[in-house]
Each structure stands twice: as structure tokens, then as C-alpha cells.
Symmetry: C2
Subunit: 660 residues, 2 copies
């Protein structure tokens, strides 16, 4: 498509008008960014972005990520104008209202064409890195015929100031993701005022120091923008930062270039002045047909490309393998290749991180879509398997990512990979460092991605590294995140079950909390089903007259069994309930829960972490054995004794309560 | 002190020997870093670091931060050898054992001379930035005579790869913290192997891009180290990165330079070989007197400097004002200058973020030690007051920090400021972005610092920004962190009470969760004491026959009162308990709690967030009104209605339960 400024300018002004009018109607929102980046976005969509509005899930489309998600009206305007079925103009007029698909920030689950949910700054760019990684990996496997697309990002000053930016661009530069291009809306304004209030960084030099190609343009000169985007597109050896020098709120004559246009409506007077300035004489939410036609034309080259791609797909994906992978299907059959039966009949005393490695050995052999990695704790997280060779700039077909000491960047990249599709990412760090990537775990949950977080060293059981490394509140606090399955398996069998559940829940991310220390195998009988799928189950039934139910997770199931055994010796019948996943238990019906935790019995929870929350199951007349303080540095066994996680310490508490 | 390599080498080898022997004895730990950085540390302590082992709390000492905290044996060896009372050689021999002050990672609460708790990578350096900020601020107020010291950091490759590094060095460079010097242990090794597995960054260029001075030396050539440290010391206009090129595990002939020495004991054979290589013929934990004497001499220049400083202190701190500030004392008298009485007699309908601003206006006028700031949300967090002018490179006497879009860097810097002493830092961001700085909040709690986190926009009540910005699980998950007071006040009065509590708890950080939306004043009667100090209290007593207790926090107290009023109309007596701080309630005795939540009554909790945890107070036969899903984008009032936070929705649930 030729770039005629006479046609581009009104197209860009349509974006500006929709943005300022929608924010005004909502009396809430961010007009500055969409107005400032309207010119750049218009060139990007007109000539560079490969997309087909009639097929927003086309596998080989370019990915577009609005990392500066507060400028959501930009993407809503672009999707509407270029002909996506949604958002409708009514959605836009209802921007930020209850039920509108045009939410305050772009939500991937509300609109096609929104590749990821953004707003928490820096994460859009970091997810884009994951998308670009997935693209190169699938390209290495399926070739240019099926996979050859770019990832385009619009990021603001905030995205570039966040720490995750450092992690993301370091990873992207190291992996030479040449098809990743970041358009930086450089307007020198943040919420508090000029950027020089808080930074004097030479951002271009920093990107170059990370192996990036950097080009610069005026963000309001169509020719310069075109040249810069061409340079970005043509350098496929390095990711490119396109510095777009813009005026925030461009078009609002009295307020542009100030922090006043960042996050507030322009007001009726300024909007009238902007209409005059822009020569935009149309009513709110009205775009003239001629301009609309030019916008609709932007999808034509993508439509044509898709048609050709479809022909190639018929030729190269005759088995449907690629389509199945992009659809997220798991291979048919027993993913563990018969290992479960063998393990059930055995008696493996292993750490659950080691159990996870054993399970992963089977799964990564069965499921080619799985791509593993670790934030520099490979040997501790036990995440590498014989099937997963290194994923490097020279070997994009590898399936193991050395993410470096970049927990947040890793988690966000995993989300991006999952959102891209065709791969199922899992990645490891210590559970304590879920704190470092917590908001990315949350965004996985909100976005409904199948990201699998392998979080080892899950309690004081890690021992000598001490309180900075010992999770206390992390397991319970992760359980609080909606739509996240937090697994804490008790042994090899539960670990295998939990891994299968993590794979099967395609719309829910998982956190696997695993021990450093060895655990005995507590499950030996074949119960004919995945017991962890219920979230909790009766592992041991009372023998004597039932008076107590002990519920525990992970490494404390062993303690629960020992405690129950001692109670039985004293004639007190005690059930033991293992709870590998509180979230899945919550999804069971009331009868199932009442059967596990019958009224009238003393209930006792044991977990080496926060007690708050366990009252849901044990009531406020039960006993919660846990740890509501920081841990200490010592060998694990001594810590379990010091903090009372032994039958010796627990049995008297139960007997006192029963006799009290 | 002259630097004689013939004396320095055995001094450094003493550090190496203690490190490898202690790790071996513990059969756990990290010998590689202490052995690699022993030469650099020996020069630093011999000539540059200003310290007096007999007065570890001397206000004008240099601060030394071991950001690479896993190399904890380095600091333990340095403290012992240079003559601190602790750790003793017995502590070192018991490295990582229960009760030893030589924990796996350095803990500021276990040993003098440990300025902060490190281990979570990157945060030591970021805390050091805060220390250097506090130093310049106090220098600007009290002059060179009382405050003129440096902050020295040893950081590893991991610290520099973490995202927080980007935030920390951007802030430090912008603020031109010339007395901050970071010694980078550049050994090209991480846990997973060579650094080129995961990065190819030109780190020096990145630091320069952030306004840092960069010098380089061999970390094993005493002369080069001396020259580099002198250059760092002499440039007081910019922070300096000293690139120390080292061999990890230097001295272990067969293992040095590999990831094998990073985090594992060397083994008996390699230790024997190292002894031979180093010419170290002494038993484990034995250091010859001559070497010890040289080490003891390293504190002499600091001792002398302190003696001179004490003379100056007599002259310049005659009122003891500086000493009081360094001791963390609050000014005497009513910090709110009579405002509380006025507010109690009024009827202010304000958002609690605005209430916080009103309170801060008074407090910052009364308490000069308070230094505020925000991560680029000043106008939203309402953290700036007339008393707090900008803290900038040109005006270190300012009391308001424009932290930039750097939540994690801000929180860590605040911790460093609090640890330095003389200032009481508070800083704002949105509550949702507590996720971004969560581990720094945790480290505040572990380190017992008076860091005050102002977290606004605390629920779906923020409205249109939608689920990415609406906290759901954050309030409850912060409550899980030990030794953190999480406040969620209901109105202006409780906000004032909570702010006073935050200041009074010198050993406990606070998180103030505040609304964006206006709230009515629910407290009007003067109850003669700070009711929030109890954590929860009966705000309204039942009028009719008491059947229900409704407990709520923050913005939902209004809903609780409305619900109670409707119940009373129907003849059902209902208490309303306001719970501004669950943590402080937990510290009350059983009688107090039983009085608030009597057995036999229906208990109902209302909070616009996770329900898990509330069963502690309402039992598992009570009613928990909350939000266990992500929010939505819409005006706040509509969201409260949609999600059932209205008397209309709640009263029937209570009546059904009472009649059920």
C-alpha cells in the first residue's frame, strides 16, 4: 500500500477523535497516548502489520501488543476502524462502562485482536518477547511456509522504566529476536510531569548495550515513520527499538505535550478546539465513509497473505499437527507412558522437585509443545529433561530456555508464549521468588493462559538458606489469586497427577509448589482415578472410632500420617485428608466437602506456612498447625522440630482439645 | 594505611580459608563468591571503608552492603577478623546451624555490622541506593561535620541481571549519588553455568547510560583494586561501578572459575588442594596472630575518624536533635496538632487517600524525619504535602522523592533509608502494584524497618480501570506477611489513627490500603483512645436483641452499617465491628476477641476482596461477603452493586441464615 499523507492524516485523526470522545463520554481514561501515537499506529497498520480482521485467530498473523495498556482507546479504535467484528462503535461509545468490551485496559478475553491483557506496565513488552520466542520456535519446526510473522509492540516511557523492561530486553537481545520490534512512544511525559523529574537515562544506549538495533523518527512525520518501520522490519538479526518522538495528546492545541492529557478527559472546550485544530468536523463516534474505506483497506494485504498461507497450510500441514498444536490440543493416549502404574507399585522416597523431574521426563517426551526453562536454577528446580535441548539464538528448535536471573521476565515471557499458542511453557524458580513475578502469575490467571510455574524449595524444608529463602506466606497467598491452580503434592504420585492436571487445564495457569527435601511415598494403592483432580481426598480412613480429621498438603502429609498413627495407637480414630489443590477442592460440591470434613469432628490442619485460611476447613474451633512467623537458618529436620511439625508436638495438642 | 601485598595476600587468604571451611562444615553454602572477592574486600576494608568495630552503630560510618547475600561467609569473615564482637569464631564454625548468628544469608537483626538482610538478588544494591539518599539528605541538613559517609556495595552478576537493578541504578544515576560505589564481582558464572548462557549485555555501557562512572580492575591485583577504589571514592559527582574481574572460587585449584564452586562445598580433597595452593597451613577456623593483627588494624583509621566525629558532634549536636533522629525518636507532643478533635467533631466525606493527604499535611509538618514519595502517582496517591519539597540532585534537603515508575526500586530504597536511620520513609503506589514490590515489603517486615507503604485504589472501588488494576487478593495476601501491619481504615478518623500507629511501630513496616472513592465519616464520637490500635473494635452496638455481628474493613464499613441499620429495622440486633488492622487484632488477648465475636451469634464479614481467611472470625458457619474473582471495568457504584456489596444484597442472605 502506498503511503499518501493526504489519506493518512485523516485516518490518524479518526483515531484521535474516537479516543478523545470516548474518554470524554466515560469521563475517565487516557487520551494522551492514543492521540500521540495515532500517526505511528496508522502507518504500522497501513503497511507493516500483517493481519486479517476476518480471521483474528489466524496462526501466522503478526502479533500486536499495546504494552502501554492505559492507552486502550488506541487499540479499540484500530480494531473498529480496520474492520474487526468487534468492538462496535456502540462498544466504543460505552468505553469503560459495565458490560462494554472496551474495558479500561485491553483484555484479551473480551476482544479478538487483543493479543494480551495489558496495563501493568512493562509486562506487555515482556509478553511480546515470549510471543517472538514462540514464533521462532515454531518457525524452526514448521518452516517459513507455516510460521513467519512479526511481533510489534507499542510501549511508553513507563514500560521502559519498569525493572521488567531490563529483563525482557536482555532476554530478547541475547536470543536475537529479530522479528520483535518495539515502537517507543517517547513523549517525555509521565503522570507526575516531565520524565526528567525521575530519570536521565540514555535509553537508546541501554538498548544498544543489550544487542538491540535502534532507529529514531518523528512520530508525526509519516515519511520518517515509514523509513523507521522499514528499517525495523528489515533487520531480522536483532530486535529493533523504534524511538518515536511524539507529542502526547497531539491535536489538543492547549493541552498537548503536558501531563494533563495523560490520564484525564480533555474537557468539552479542549475537544472543540482539537476538532478545529484537526479539521475534524464530524460528530462524536462518526467516521466518514471515505476515511473508513481507507481504514478497511489496511487489512487487504493481510487478507491476501492469509489466502496464500492457507494454500501452503494444505500442503504442509496435511496431518493437522500444526493446527492441533496451535489449538492447544494434547496428544492422545497416556502421556506418562505407563509410568504411573510402575510408580504406584513402587516405593519412591524422593523430593517432589525430583518427582517433578521424573514426571517431566515422560511428559516432555510425549508432548512436543512443552518448552521448559528456569530462572538460573536449572539444577535446583529440576526442570531440564533429555527431551529439552537448549533454546538459543542458534537453535530455536531447542525446548529449554536459560532465562537468566529474570523471574519476572520469565513469567511474562511464558505468558506470551502461551498466548501465542503452539507451545506450552513451564518455567522454574524458587517459590519465594514467586514474589518477584507475582503480577505476571496474576496476569496468567486473568488471561486464562496455560502457563505452568514450577516453584521449588516450598517451605522451611529448604533448610539452611534461612528466612529470606523460606516461603511462609507464599502458598496461601498464591491460592488467593483467582483462576490459578496452586498444587502442593505430597509425593511422586500426587506430583504426577498434578502435572497432568496442569496440562489439562488449558484456561488456567498452575503453580506447582515442590519440596527440596525427600518425602516418602504416601500413595501406593491404585484408586483408579486422578485423586488430585478433586483437590483433596481421604488418603487414610480412621480405624478406631473416628474423632479427628487431619488435613495437610505436601511435605506435611507425612506428618499428618504419623500423627494419625499415634492417635490410633491411643484409640482415637483419625482420617487423613491430603489436599494437593485447595482451588480444585473449592470447585467440588458441598456433599463432597462435607464428607471429607464432617461436622462434629475435631479438624486439624497441618501446613508449614500461614495458618490464616485453614479455618475454612477446620472451623474456628479446630486446630491450625502452621507457621505465622519467618523461618530460620538450619538443617530442615531441626526446623520442622523447632517449629512443631512433628507428631510429638501435635498429638498432645489434639488430645488436649479432645479432652478439653 | 599502606597497602603491602605481602600482608594483604594472607589477609585475603584468611577470608578464603574461613569461607571454604565454614561451608564445608555446614555441608551447605556458597564458597565461590567469598573466595573470588576476598582480595577486593581486603583492600576495601584496609583502606577505604570507614568503620569502627567497637561502635557498629556509629551514625557516620560507611555503610557496607553485601548485595550478593549468598556469599554471606565473606561478611562473617570480615566482621570477625576486623574485630567486631560478633560473630565469634564459634558462630562461624556453626555457620548455617540452628541458633548461629551466621545464618545462611546475612540478617541485619542477628549481627551488628550487617546493614541489611540480603539474599533476594538485586535488593541489597537497591537498598544501598536508599542508604545513600538518606546520607545526602542528612548531610544537607546537618552538614559535613555530622554526616559525610559512603555506601559500598558488593554485587554479583545476579544482582545486575534482576529487573530491580535497572530501577535502582536509574534512580541513583538521576540523583547523582556520588558517594555510592558498587563493586561488581564480575566472574562470568551463574548457577546454570557461564553468563553467556543467558546474557550478552554490555553492562558497563548500561551503567554509563544511566549516568554512572565506570572503572575496571583485576579483582586479584591489589594495586589495580586500590587504583579503582580510589577513583570510585574520588568521584563524588556520580555513583561508580567498579568492575572487578574475578575468578569465582579463586584459590581452589581444580574448581575455581566454574559454576561448581558457586553454591556447594568444595569437598575435603579440594580444600586440601586449596590450602596447598594458598600456602594456608592452619587448621580450620584458626587464623595466626600476625594475620589477625593486620586485620584488627583495618579498623584503626575508622576508630580515629570516629573520635574526631564525636568531638564535632559535641559541638554541632548540642541539643541532641541529630542523635534523636538517628535513634528514630518521634517528636514529643501531639503530632496531629489538635486536628483529631476538629475532625471528630466534623463530618468529612473524603476518600481515605485524601484523608491520608490531610493527615500527612499535619504529620510531615510535625515530623521532619518523614520523607515521602511516589512511583509516579503523586496526584493519585496523595502523598505530597506543603512540607515536602522535591528531593533532587540539586536539593538533597528536599523531602519528596519522585521515584519514577519503579515500584520495586522505590520500596527497596525506602527500606534502605529506614535502615540507614535518621529518616522515616513513606512512598505510594497503587495497591495492585504491591505485587511489583512484594518481596521488598516482605524484606521490610523481616528486617523490622519502619517503611510505610501508601497503597491507594484499594479495591473494585477504583472503578473504570478494570481488573488489571483492581486489587482482589492483595489486602489479604499482605496480611499473610509476618510482622507487617496492614491497615485498611474506614474513614478520616481511622486513617489518622492508622498513620499514628504506622509511625509508632518502629520495628514493623506498615501498608496503608486506601480508597480512591469518597467514604462517609463513620467515627464521630471521641472514644478517648486510638481505637485502631486494637486492630478491631465495636463501632456500633446492637440496639435490638443481638443476633448478628458484622465485621468489615475500609470502604465496606459503610456497607456494614447500612446492613445493620436494615436489620435493626426488622428487629434483628446487629453489632458492627470495624477492623482497620487484622494484624493488630491478632495481638489482642482471647477475651477481647471473644467479646467482639461472641460464640452463638451469626457472624458476617464484608470486604471487597478474597474471602479466604475471614472464616477465622466468622467461623465456617458464618457468612463471608467478598470477591473471589477478578473485577470488571465500570463506575465504582455499579461494581459494588454488581458484586453484591449492598445492604439490599446482604440483608436477605443474613435473614435466610437466621431463619434457616
Amino acid at each position: 500500500m502506498s503511503l499518501d499523507p493526504a489519506r493518512l492524516a485523516p485516518m490518524a485523526n479518526a483515531v484521535r477523535a474516537l479516543s478523545m470522545d470516548a474518554v470524554q463520554a466515560a469521563n475517565s481514561g487516557h487520551p494522551g497516548m492514543p492521540m500521540g501515537m495515532a500517526d505511528v499506529a496508522t502507518v504500522l497498520w497501513s503497511k507493516y502489520l500483517k493481519f486479517d480482521p476476518s480471521a483474528p485467530d489466524w496462526a501466522d498473523r503478526d502479533r500486536f501488543v499495546l504494552s502501554a495498556g492505559h492507552g486502550s482507546m488506541l487499540i479499540y479504535a484500530l480494531l473498529n476502524l480496520s474492520g474487526y467484528a468487534r468492538p462496535t462503535m456502540e462498544d466504543i461509545a460505552n468505553f469503560r462502562q459495565l458490560g462494554s468490551r472496551c474495558a479500561g485496559h485491553p483484555e484479551n478475553f473480551l476482544l479478538d485482536g487483543i493479543e494480551c491483557t495489558t496495563g501493568p506496565l512493562g509486562q506487555g513488552l515482556a509478553m511480546a518477547v515470549g510471543m517472538a520466542m514462540a514464533e521462532r520456535h515454531l518457525n524452526a519446526i514448521y518452516g517459513d511456509a507455516l510460521v513467519d510473522h512479526r511481533t510489534w509492540v507499542i510501549a511508553g516511557d513507563g514500560c521502559l522504566m519498569e525493572g521488567i523492561n531490563h529483563e525482557a530486553i536482555g532476554l530478547a537481545g541475547h536470543l536475537k529476536l529479530g522479528r520483535l520490534n518495539v515502537l517507543w512512544d517517547s513523549n517525555n511525559i509521565t503522570i507526575d510531569g516531565d520524565t526528567d523529574l525521575s530519570t536521565c537515562e540514555d535509553i537508546q544506549a541501554r538498548y544498544r548495550a543489550n544487542g538491540w538495533h535502534v532507529v529514531e523518527c518523528s512520530g508525526h512525520d509519516f515519511g520518517e515513520i515509514d523509513t523507521a518501520l522499514a528499517a525495523a522490519r528489515d533487520d531480522t538479526d536483532r530486535p529493533t527499538l523504534v524511538v518515536c518522538n511524539t507529542v502526547i495528546g497531539k491535536g489538543a492545541p492547549n493541552k498537548q505535550g503536558t501531563s494533563g492529557v495523560h490520564g484525564s478527559p480533555l474537557g468539552a472546550d479542549e475537544i472543540a478546539a482539537a476538532r478545529e485544530q484537526l479539521g475534524w468536523e464530524y460528530e462524536p463516534f462518526v467516521v466518514p465513509d471515505a476515511i473508513l474505506a481507507d481504514w478497511k483497506a489496511t487489512g487487504e494485504h493481510g487478507k491476501a497473505a492469509r489466502s496464500q498461507w492457507q494454500d501452503r497450510a494444505k500442503q504442509y500441514d496435511t496431518t493437522g499437527e500444526f493446527a492441533d498444536r496451535m489449538a492447544g490440543k494434547l496428544p492422545d493416549g497416556d502421556l506418562l507412558a505407563g509410568a504411573m502404574e510402575e510408580w504406584l507399585s513402587g516405593d519412591q522416597k524422593v523430593a517432589t522437585r525430583k518427582a517433578s523431574e521424573m514426571v517431566l521426563g515422560k511428559l516432555t517426551a510425549s508432548v512436543p509443545a512443552m518448552i521448559g526453562g528456569s530462572a538460573d536454577l536449572t539444577g535446583s528446580n529440576n526442570t531440564k529433561t533429555p527431551s529439552t535441548g537448549p533454546f538459543t539464538a542458534d537453535n530455536y528448535d531447542g525446548r529449554y530456555v536459560y532465562y537468566g536471573i529474570r523471574e519476572f521476565g520469565m513469567a511474562a515471557a511464558m505468558n506470551g508464549m502461551a498466548l501465542h499458542g503452539g507451545v506450552i511453557p513451564y518455567g522454574g524458580t524458587f517459590l519465594i521468588f514467586s514474589d518477584y513475578c507475582r503480577n505476571a502469575i496474576r496476569l496468567a490467571a486473568l488471561q486464562q493462559t496455560r502457563s505452568i510455574f514450577v516453584l521449588t524449595h516450598d517451605s522451611i524444608g529448604l533448610g539452611e538458606d534461612g528466612p529470606t529463602h523460606q516461603p511462609v506466606e507464599q502458598v496461601m497467598s498464591l491460592r488467593l489469586i483467582p483462576n490459578l491452580n496452586v498444587f502442593r503434592p505430597a509425593d511422586l504420585i500426587e506430583t504426577a497427577e498434578c502435572w497432568l492436571l496442569a496440562l489439562e487445564h488449558a484456561g488456567t495457569p498452575s503453580a506447582l509448589c515442590l519440596t527440596r527435601q525427600n518425602l516418602p511415598q504416601v500413595r501406593k494403592a491404585d484408586l483408579g482415578q486422578n485423586m488430585s483432580a478433586k483437590g483433596a481426598y481421604r488418603l487414610k480412613a480412621a480405624q478406631g472410632p473416628r474423632k479427628v480429621v487431619i488435613v495437610a498438603s505436601g511435605s506435611e502429609v507425612e506428618v499428618a500420617l504419623a500423627t494419625a498413627a499415634r492417635l490410633e495407637e491411643q484409640g482415637v480414630g483419625a482420617d487423613v485428608v491430603s489436599m494437593p489443590c485447595m482451588d480444585l477442592l473449592e470447585a467440588q460440591d458441598a456433599n463432597y466437602k462435607a464428607d471429607l470434613f464432617p461436622a462434629g469432628l475435631l479438624k486439624v490442619s497441618i501446613e508449614a506456612g500461614s495458618t490464616l485460611g485453614w479455618e475454612r476447613y477446620v472451623g474456628n474451633d479446630g486446630i491450625t498447625i502452621g507457621l505465622d512467623r519467618f523461618g530460620a537458618s538450619a538443617p530442615a529436620e531441626q526446623l520442622f522440630e523447632k517449629f512443631g511439625f512433628t507428631a510429638d508436638a501435635i498429638v498432645p495438642k489434639i488430645m488436649n482439645k479432645l479432652n478439653g
